[in-house]
């Protein structure tokens, strides 16, 4: 039974019961209401003329206005389940009372209005309750099956009514429908009063990371402000405005299609055959609707995504009516058009429409939906009916005119649906929002208020705040706004930063203020003052610093003077030579200062000296030499700078210096990356260095890394770099990124498949050491799973640089089932794409497999088309892991195999020790001597060829 069910419904653990409850509730409501409608129509039309129906429609429309408002308040006060329960009991009670009332004209009007209003309310309440119980991801899988409960209820209700009428009077159907409502209400009492998402395991995980602050005052997911009317809510939201337009156009189109079909049939089919004609086609379409519901709805939704799936019905209607417009009203086309409506409206379209409401907050959903589904649609029906009547009265009711009108409406509906995609994604973007403001969008210009804020910071006593103000103005190219008074600040840090800033911004008008600091008590400040004055060309002031007691101050003065006054070799300047000759700490400080001064006064004549200093044994000297290389362009610097990337102490400055060397350095980095002889520690840092160039060439080089680089770590670094460049607007070869993305997703699923049998062997008696080594193997596999998934998301970010994919990833890992589902739906909608490539389609499927709520075993089973043969047992898995290309994984698996001591595993380890000696795995001598192990190893060797 479960197997048969699984062919129709993708049910996951814990979902069966709530889905069955929803199915049964919907079945009961629709069955009871169908029976009530049957009795109502029969009673009304046997006692009153059909023309009075128009009056009833008006009453229903007016009643809907009142009931919708009451219903919203009622649900808010008592909760969704209790409201539905009460409405069912109330409907049963009222219907029973009506059964006992003599059916005069007034009673019939009341009965008709009563059933119509309650039918609207019950359906809306039931779907809202269902919406609360499931996430959007579950909805896509389950709503088709759940909605089939409604279709089945209609079939059973109508069939039972027809059968019962042979035995009981029509009015008795009222009592029977009351009984069905009561039974449904009783069934509802067995369900929890506050439905919870069936996958909401946040409490069990004990953690609820969020993607937005609970108290965020901006850009929260949409929610109505207290006291706001439903209309205001609708008109205040771009999404809801489109939903309103969608309701209007779809209601008008469907009414028009219905009228077009009936009028075409009335013109074509003989009057005597009309009854059987309608009966036959309605039966066929009901059957088709049920089949679509059960077999296709979920699949179409999952394959196409919600919004594209919703374009199917208007597309078919537009095509059908377009054909009728051309052909002049062929009955076959009318049947096909109405057939699309019959098959899809209550199946795919209904479920898709329900899913469109899911991303909204419950209170928004309740308020807006109540209004649109009842008042909105009834009003549109009334207007459309009046329009059709007017057309007929004016002699414009020909099939061609009607088809044209309907085609226009259907095209409008289609367009509105397509335009909904970006708004639908926006809802998820808001729910998963990364931040509130786009920092990249902040241009360099500062307005008056901003300048005021920065100047306020500059006058602060807080040194860090002043420094922040200086740096901000410098970065925003408003350096002239920094006042010279900052040089009077009491903080050494501010003075040092201000003096450095004076050099960077060429504020030579500050010279008198800077000169004052030559007498400052702190040598660092005096040194900085000399640096500034030297840069400004204030030689006389600088010369006074040659007498300073501090060698660093003297060094800066000497370099500044030598570069401007020495014609040939400035490093031969006597003061400089004297400073170089100093030993001990004073000597080190002097050389450091000389190198800093060279950086301040970049002069190609110092290039040889810098190359020599770069090879110095003292790290502080090397760092300063590399820093100075940033200021002098010389191709000879490039090779040592690339080599310097292997040491973290100089990596950052070496990167800066390489960027300063320009395109020649970029090409050298490209060559180093392509050269397998480049040491790994250097290669590992090449991608980030390349990304620092920020150019299109840099992006292209990094994209080249993805398909050809064997090291996953370096590929990761390349994709991090690519991510930054993509955000900055560089073009990235989408095909290469897609291939890498697919590779990472497959790898993730392969690792899940490898870990699963091992996870199942945890707790099985393996012995202390084996359990410990198993835990490490598993931890490594889990790390790698996480890593490959995270990389996949980073690659997705490169493909969608403007989307907050990171936010979706964070949401995916959260304990909040609704948030996870929103992330899933966001990714699904995003990866649907307008023109997906074959790889893109595979990625969408893989992404779904990797992120969906599935057990490891189920995930592996569903991913089998993408995976090599997956292991079933602990032993099979360890054997595979011993042969893994990843050295760490293979090594750990080998040690675990040694701990387990099973001959086949030991044989594999013995083989491995010979084949991969670089792993340094050794088999204990006693085990090596074991004949069974040797036999197994021989078998393994033969097996390996």
């Amino acid at each position: 039974m479960a197997g048969v069910l699984a062919r129709f419904v993708d049910l996951r653990p814990k979902e069966g019961r709530p889905a069955a409850n929803a199915f049964a509730t919907l079945f009961g409501i629709v069955a009871g209401h169908t029976m009530l409608e049957t009795a109502r129509d029969a009673l009304f039309l046997t006692k009153l003329p059909p023309r009075l129906l128009t009056l009833v429609y008006v009453l229903v429309a007016l009643g809907t206005l009142v009931v919708t408002s009451l219903n919203a308040r009622f649900v808010k006060r008592f909760g969704q389940r209790n409201a539905l329960l009460f409405t069912l009991v109330f409907t049963a009670y009222g219907t029973t009372v009506l059964h006992f009332v003599p059916m005069g004209k007034v009673a019939l009007f009341v009965l008709y209005t009563w059933s119509a209003l309650l039918g609207t309310v019950l359906a809306a309440q039931c779907w809202m309750l269902i919406g609360l119980s499931f996430t959007v991801a579950q909805g896509k899988r389950l709503f088709g099956a759940i909605a089939s409960g409604g279709v089945l209820g209609a079939v059973v209700g109508a069939g039972a009514a027809a059968g019962l009428l042979a035995m009981v009077p029509v009015a008795s159907l009222l009592l029977i429908s009351s009984g069905i409502f009561v039974a449904t209400a009783l069934f509802l009492t067995t369900q929890p009063s506050e439905p919870v998402s069936v996958q909401d395991d946040a409490a069990q995980r004990g953690s609820r990371p969020s993607t937005i602050p609970p108290s965020a005052s901006r850009n929260s997911p949409p929610g109505p402000p207290p006291g706001e009317s439903a209309w205001a809510t609708i008109f205040g939201s771009a999404y809801l405005r489109r939903m309103a337009l969608l309701t209007t156009l779809s209601t008008a189109t469907l009414l028009s299609v219905d009228y077009l079909f009936k009028s075409t049939a009335a013109h074509t089919v003989p009057a005597s055959e009309l009854g059987s004609f309608f009966a036959r086609w309605y039966a066929i379409w009901n059957g088709a609707s049920l089949a679509v519901q059960l077999l296709l709805t979920s699949r179409i939704l999952r394959q196409l995504g919600v919004v594209p799936a919703l374009t199917l019905l208007p597309l078919l209607l537009a095509t059908g009516t377009g054909g009728m417009l051309i052909s002049g009203g062929l009955l076959g086309l009318a049947i096909a058009t109405k057939g699309s409506d019959g098959a899809l409206r209550y199946s795919l379209h209904r479920v898709g429409s329900e899913l469109l409401w899911m991303p909204l907050q419950a209170e928004v959903r309740n308020a807006a939906r109540g209004l649109l589904d009842s008042v909105g649609s009834k009003a549109v029906q009334a207007i459309m009916a009046a329009l059709l009547l007017a057309l007929a009265s004016l002699g414009l009711g020909s099939p061609r005119v009607l088809a044209g009108l309907t085609a226009v409406l259907a095209i409008g509906w289609l367009g509105t649906t397509i335009s909904l995609r970006s708004r639908y994604l926006d809802l998820f973007r808001q729910a998963l929002s990364k931040g509130t403001l786009d920092a990249a969008a902040m241009a360099d210009e500062l307005d008056a208020a901003s300048i005021e804020a920065v100047l306020d910071a500059l006058s602060s006593r807080d040194a860090q705040r002043v420094i922040a103000g200086i740096e901000l103005l410098a970065e925003k190219k408003r350096a002239r706004l920094v006042p010279g008074l900052v040089l009077y600040h009491e903080s050494e840090a501010v003075l040092l930063r201000a003096l450095r800033f004076a050099v960077e911004a060429d504020r030579r008008e500050w010279s008198p203020l800077v000169a004052r600091l030559l007498a400052h008590a702190l040598p660092d400040v005096r040194t900085a003052a000399v640096r500034a004055l030297g840069t400004f060309g204030e030689r006389d002031l600088v010369r006074t610093a040659l007498e300073d007691g501090n060698p660093a101050v003297r060094a800066h003065a000497a370099i500044a003077l030598a570069t401007t006054e020495t014609a040939e070799a400035p490093h031969e300047d006597p003061t400089i030579r004297e400073l170089f000759a100093l030993d001990g700490d004073r000597g080190r400080l002097a050389v450091e200062a000389l190198l800093e001064a060279i950086a301040d006064h970049p002069d190609p004549r110092f290039a040889d000296l810098l190359l020599e200093m770069e090879r110095d044994a003292r790290p502080e000297i090397v760092e300063r030499a590399v820093r100075a290389m940033r200021r002098i362009k010389d191709a000879r610097f490039i090779a040592p700078l690339v080599a310097r990337l292997d040491r973290h102490a100089t990596r950052q400055v070496a990167r800066d210096a390489l960027v300063a060397q320009g395109e020649e350095a970029l090409e050298a980095l490209a060559q180093a990356l392509a050269d397998p002889e480049t040491p790994f520690r250097v290669r590992a840092h090449l991608p980030r260095t390349i990304s620092r160039f920020g150019s299109q060439r840099a992006a292209d080089l990094l994209a080249d890394v993805l398909p050809r680089e064997p090291s996953g770590f370096i590929r990761y670094k390349a994709l991090r770099g690519l991510g930054r460049l993509a955000v900055d607007g560089r073009r990235v070869d989408r095909n290469r990124v897609e291939v890498e993305l697919k590779k990472n997703l497959v790898e993730h699923l392969r690792l899940v498949a490898l870990a699963d049998p091992l996870e199942r062997s945890v707790g099985v008696e393996l012995g202390g050491a084996a359990s410990e080594s198993l835990s490490l193997v598993l931890a490594l596999l889990r790390d790698k799973q996480r890593q490959s998934l995270e990389r996949s998301f980073r690659l997705l970010s490169i493909l969608n640089p403007r989307e907050d994919i990171r936010g979706a990833y964070v949401a995916m890992l959260s304990g909040d089932a609704k948030l996870r589902a929103q992330a899933l739906e966001f990714l699904d909608a995003l990866t649907t794409g307008r023109r997906p490539t074959p790889t893109g389609r595979e990625i969408r499927e893989l992404l779904r497999l990797a992120t969906d709520e599935l057990s490891a075993r189920e995930r592996t089973a569903r991913a089998r088309d993408f995976l090599p043969k997956t292991p079933a047992s602990h032993e099979e898995t360890v054997l595979l892991l011993i042969r893994e290309a990843d050295a760490t994984l293979a090594t750990f698996a080998a040690y675990h195999a040694i701990d387990v001591r099973s001959p086949p595993l030991l044989g594999a380890v013995a083989t491995m020790t010979l084949a991969r000696p670089e792993l340094n795995v050794t088999l204990p001598i006693d085990l090596m001597a074991d004949e069974r192990v040797r036999a197994s190893a021989r078998g393994g060797n033969r097996g390996d060829g």
Binding site: P213, S215, S433, T436, L437, R465, I467, L776, A779
Partner: protein, 318 residues
């Protein structure tokens, strides 16, 4: 971009530059600025509740906040401050409720964005590690002779052979400040580590010496003491000699001597910092190690509720 938004971004940028002392040209501030949410809490309102957990860090931009919990003295903090970071590092719900003492403006940042920014700004990550190491070391010296370090477990016999890669990785995995690191990162560290044997009475480090490595005890005991008598602690298996702050020390702030035959894994600073740069979760793991030690010290000091605060040292109530 609207004027209000521009103003907001500028305020954030000024605030973050001042608080984090990010070097000029660093992308740290830029990447954080756009990832934050502004949160305004009126006086007497609550920024977050004890026991709640949104996995976020709060930067107090304007106003003052009081962190309250039963059984602990309230902590008052004024802007600029960072609150909630230790709870995030230790992956636990907030241990205190943050009440607004005044009208409060805060910036809310999800932890993943914080660590992403650190990954992209290694200097900032190093600064964060250095600062938290220095702070925790000061606290160790203030808490008494034991330094707040737990006594070592019963000494184990040194193994008769060298440790293989798996055993080394397992040993590193037991170290508090590496618990959050991936196995891959630890295996890389384990590969670069040198095994050191220390006899009782043998000196490993002398106070004031330049330090170029950290030492992880895998068996035996190492004694640590200071000339000023402020510290006399012992470290056993699963410990870094000197605790989490040792990862940033440039000079040994203590003398370390073998107390029982010990096997140590020596990891050189360059290898450690390479691992930190290569594996972002190492940053988090080491910061969490310092947060954990801080919690222990708070407990020794009698605070039943551990701290939740990490600030720049310039705010009141630090």
């Amino acid at each position: 971009m609207a004027t209000d938004d521009r103003q907001e971004l500028l305020e954030r940028e000024l605030f973050l530059r001042a608080l984090l002392a990010a070097p000029a040209g660093s992308s740290l501030v830029k990447s954080l600025t756009g990832s934050m949410h502004r949160v305004e809490v009126p006086k007497d309102g609550v920024l977050y509740h004890q026991g709640s957990d949104d996995g976020a860090i709060h930067f107090i931009v304007r106003g003052a906040v009081e962190l309250r919990a039963d059984g602990a003295a309230p902590l008052e903090l004024a802007a600029p401050a960072i609150v909630g970071l230790f709870d995030v590092l230790l992956r636990r719900p907030y241990t205190r409720t943050a009440h607004a003492k005044t009208d409060l403006v805060a910036l809310w940042l999800r932890q993943e964005d914080w660590f992403d920014a650190l990954e992209d700004n290694f200097d900032a990550a190093r600064t964060a590690i250095r600062r938290s190491g220095e702070n925790i070391w000061r606290m160790h010296l203030e808490v008494g002779e034991s330094g707040g370090f737990p006594p070592p477990a019963k000494p184990t016999e040194p193994p008769k052979r060298g440790l293989n890669l798996l055993e080394r990785t397992l040993a590193l995995r037991t170290v508090v400040c590496f618990r959050g690191a991936t196995v891959q990162a630890l295996a890389e560290l384990a590969q670069t580590a040198e095994e050191r044997f220390l006899e009782p009475g043998e000196t490993l480090l002398r106070e004031g010496d330049l330090v170029r490595s950290i030492f992880v005890v895998t068996s035996g005991v190492v004694r640590v003491e200071r000339a000023d008598g402020k510290l006399a602690a012992t470290f056993g298996p699963g410990c870094v000699v000197g605790g989490a702050s040792a990862v940033q020390a440039e000079r040994a702030p203590f003398t370390a001597i073998g107390d029982a035959p010990a096997v140590l894994l020596e990891i050189e600073h360059p290898a450690l910092y390479d691992a930190i740069e290569d594996h972002v979760e190492m940053i988090r793991s080491i910061l969490a190690g310092t947060a954990y030690e801080r919690d222990e010290i708070e407990r020794i000091k009698g605070n039943r509720v551990p701290g939740t605060v990490m600030i720049d040292g310039r705010a009141r109530g630090a």
